[in-house]
């Protein structure tokens, strides 16, 4: 299937000389939730700003639905909705007026029924006649989503959608995003909340210092890069790891009463059975055990650290 967005060798150097993007290649699949992870200043916003037409690229090509974003800007932009990172709103307009304005701006005829549906879906209907300046921060964030959805886009960019948003609203936002994906909208989400990507994304891209470090399915990424650890609570303290168990590269806890075994989740044999057998043979008993898998956050931190 043709990717809905194809980015080739995209670079951006600002007038100040700062290189925000370095030859980025990326494909976004139709109907997926793609999370672009990266620390502040990594190039996330620059990348989506170029796709949306707000920033000019220095070199490279971006195709949306097979069409060049510059040559076919009308067709391309009418497919895209953008929710910016900052809460930039028309303070003096009503919720209804500013949402209707967005629909017209993107070339769609007035459709009060659609605007009503969008505002209801985002729990803004009761506030439709209120001035934007009277809304809370969370409501303003939802209003930005309503404006972006007013022209029924096929692609939605969410630039740090839950930055500064409380936990409850963040979960509401996630539900909204999932519902949008279920309705067929492709969603590109930039975030530095790993939890957000882990919760929602189908695929994850990690960007740092303008370079795309990897793009993987979230599950595959965690399988591939995720470490798993078996922690054994020992019956009796050990002074050191016996030489007979050296091949397992065990870590002995500070107080000598835990042993931690790190193993490869993709290996055919994890070595756990053999380890337990040999521990039994060496007379080392345990009273409890548990396993831990590294989170996307651990993976992300590792990757970004390597670029420093």
């Amino acid at each position: 299937m043709t990717p809905i967005i194809a980015v080739s060798n995209l670079s951006k150097t600002y007038a100040s000389g700062f290189q925000a993007l370095k030859r980025i290649n990326l494909e976004i699949r139709r109907g997926e939730i793609f999370a672009l992870l990266g620390p502040n200043g990594a190039g996330k916003t620059t990348l989506i700003s170029i796709v949306c037409g707000i920033v000019n690229p220095s070199e490279g090509e971006v195709l949306v639905d097979g069409r060049d974003i510059a040559a076919h800007y009308r067709a391309v932009r009418s497919m895209i909705g953008l929710v910016p990172q900052e809460l930039t709103t028309d303070a003096f307009e009503s919720v209804w007026a500013t949402t209707s304005f967005s629909r017209g701006l993107f070339g769609r005829p007035p459709n009060p029924a659609h605007i009503q549906k969008v505002l209801r879906d985002l729990s803004l209907w009761e506030k439709k006649d209120n001035r934007v300046m009277t809304l809370s921060g969370g409501m303003k964030r939802r209003l930005l989503i309503a404006k972006a959805l007013s022209h029924e886009p096929q692609i939605l960019f969410l630039d740090e959608p839950t930055a500064g948003v409380d936990v409850e609203l963040r979960k509401d936002m996630w539900n909204i995003v999932r519902a949008l994906r279920d309705s067929g909208v492709t969603i590109i989400l930039t975030t530095h909340y790993i939890e957000e990507a882990e919760e929602m994304a189908d695929r994850v891209g990690v960007i740092a210092k303008g370079e795309l470090l990897l793009v993987e399915g979230k599950e595959a990424l965690m399988r591939k890069l995720g470490r798993k650890q078996l922690t054994l609570q020992l019956r009796e303290r050990l002074a050191e790891v016996p030489a007979s168990l050296a091949k397992y590269k065990l870590e002995l806890g500070a107080e000598g009463n835990t042993l931690v075994y790190t193993y490869d989740t993709q290996a055919e044999r994890t070595g756990i059975t053999a380890l337990l057998d040999e521990m039994g043979g060496a007379g080392i008993g345990f009273v409890d055990l548990h396993t831990d898998q590294s989170s996307l956050e651990d993976i992300f931190v590792d990757l970004v650290r390597k670029t420093r």
Binding site: C52, G53, I54, R77, T89, F92, G104, L105, F106
Partner: protein, 253 residues
């Protein structure tokens, strides 16, 4: 053409005018009425008429032009500067709209507001002095062309400005002096020869003169020159706007 976008921008800008009725309409009308009292009633008792037209009636075209220029610039510059200031410009830049459609929406709304204001001032003037319009079609042509040209100029200022102070600099330091020295309250022919020659370098002279001609057939310069000056200024502004969108000046990085 994305007519829905043009309509959306136009209505959005017009709605702002109604929301700020005091600032958009009432305030300029009040200022004009004060001009009538000060210049018409006070000075008019000393200068009874100019070339057969009562002084009060003579200054009407100049007063309309004064408001038209300042309000066109103010409306259009604020209209495009405010989204840049608040950050909502992202929506305009990411929308499927061409530069022509953006200009039609913003400049069209600013010019409409100025023309409405000009007509209201004319109606207000009618309460103070007897008005005569010899060439109503030309009067409308001058009114609309000047409103559009100076709204374009205001649009350029709104793109250029990077603070509210800069938004005010050109209207206050350039346009207002040029308007006052452009024959708004007098005929250029009343000046000594040296200052008459200097006035010919003031573009506002041509606008006021042409506009006054459409009322009383009185002109400081040939009406053809006035039409040419209006089109010339319009052309310059269009070229500047074309360059802004081609380069993305102050809009895109």
């Amino acid at each position: 053409m994305n007519l829905h976008a043009v309509r959306a921008i136009y209505h959005f800008e017009m709605a702002r005018a109604w929301r700020t009725l005091m600032q958009s309409i009432v305030s300029p009308v009040l200022s004009t009425s004060l001009y009538f009292i000060v210049f018409g009633a006070a000075i008019g008792t000393r200068i009874t008429e100019i070339e057969g037209v009562s002084y009060g009636a003579f200054i009407v075209p100049g007063l309309v032009m004064l408001s038209l220029l300042t309000q066109s610039i103010s409306n259009a510059s604020f209209g495009i500067y405010f989204p840049r200031f608040t950050g909502t410009i992202y929506e305009l830049l990411s929308a499927p709209v061409s530069p022509l459609e953006i200009v039609l929406g913003y400049v069209g709304a600013a010019a409409t507001k100025s023309v409405i204001l000009g007509l209201i001032i004319l109606a207000t003037a009618g309460l103070f002095v007897p008005l005569r319009i010899e060439h109503p079609v030309w009067m409308i042509v001058f009114l609309v062309l000047t409103a559009f040209a100076f709204s374009l100029f205001g649009f350029i200022i709104g793109i250029w400005a990077d603070g509210f102070e800069k938004l005010q600099v050109i209207p206050l330091l350039l346009i207002t002096p040029l308007t006052f020295l452009g024959g708004t309250f007098y005929s250029v022919n009343m000046l000594p020869p040296f200052w008459q020659a200097v006035s010919m370098f003031n573009p506002v002279v041509y606008l006021v003169s042409g506009f006054r001609w459409s009322f009383y057939e009185l002109a400081d310069v040939n009406v053809g020159l006035s039409v040419a000056a209006t089109f010339g200024f319009l052309g310059l502004c269009l070229a500047a706007v074309w360059w802004i969108f081609r380069t993305g000046y102050r809009l895109k990085t």
